[in-house]
Symmetry: C2
């Protein structure tokens, strides 16, 4: 087997998700993942530090995109507008990945340690988002609340998106959840 493997990362990810779904995350070994993908363990470890990273390897990129989009939002954008813009940007990354996202979520939901990891990931996203808003001059409290509310919107939208079968994409679900948030907070 040569050192160059076309789309090795994608094949490993695919094989891992299938195996995690079939046998459970704990019972799957890296050797099995590599075997299913037709690759070596050595190749696996060139792409992922461990089998958990197959599920969470995209977090840093998501976080960078999120904070980058907040920084790029027009100077006149309100904190919530900048956040909405950033969420739409990361939402677009999931285009064509609904089935993959569903499978990943099922694996996470089935494992307490992975559910905790996912919570930590979302908390880190909220914290990075708040920092990005502060860099725009948004005061502390407003930044923290906008960020937490924004991540809540993303979480709820994501859940809807993977549980529904219609054509609405993730950015559309994000817009709807954001409108819903505005409606519930305006109701008093």
């Amino acid at each position: 087997m040569g050192r160059w493997e076309p789309n090795a990362r994608g094949r490993l990810e695919r094989a891992a998700l299938d195996l995690y779904g079939e046998r459970g995350f704990e019972k799957t070994t890296v050797a099995e993942i590599a075997g299913r993908a037709g690759l070596t363990e050595r190749t696996f470890f060139r792409h992922f530090a461990d089998k958990r990273e197959v599920l969470f390897g995209g977090s840093a990129m998501l976080q960078d995109m999120l904070t980058g989009a907040v920084a790029d939002a027009p100077a006149a954008a309100t904190p919530l507008d900048a956040t909405a813009h950033a969420l739409a940007t990361i939402g677009a990354v999931f285009e064509g990945r609904r089935e993959h996202s569903r499978q990943r979520q099922a694996v996470i939901d089935a494992n307490a340690e992975l559910r905790e990891r996912e919570l930590i990931k979302l908390a880190a996203l909220a914290s990075a988002l708040a920092s990005a808003l502060r860099l725009r001059g948004v005061p502390d409290t407003a930044a923290a609340l906008t960020a937490e509310a924004g991540i809540a919107v993303f979480k709820v939208a994501f859940e809807h998106w993977i549980n529904e079968t219609d054509e609405r994409d993730l950015p559309q679900h994000i817009r709807e959840s954001l409108d819903e948030l505005k409606a519930v907070t305006a109701s008093t």
Copy 2:
């Protein structure tokens, strides 16, 4: 030493927090906590399952109060009003506990595992709050978003409360954060 120890739980909690602060959470043993409180390990284990429970033993009560207060809110209350009412109810529990809360937070902030546990506790609170809102007939999405936003408000308010030295109590900080949330979500 008799079996009946006046305020044993409070003394153990006090001793534990002091030791966690002095030596770090990991390095403190149950024997040391009991010794500092002038009690036996046996008494410690009558009150807490382990040294982590000293920090998180109140979670179940908080969650019960939160969901109970949502259920008790007037039928006409909007989801956000019911949530505000519930947050004020749990906020009142912290009356006179600012120094304790500060000390507890410093211990948690210093330890990655405890920070994760705290995130999980807050996520469980959000989830219980959403369920309580659904029981009032609030639709799924609105319930989830109101609950997440409500817990974000609590988190931000709590942080302000422990970091400030003025006279405003936690319920007051909660009201202010809630107003701030309304302001940021109304800004678009």
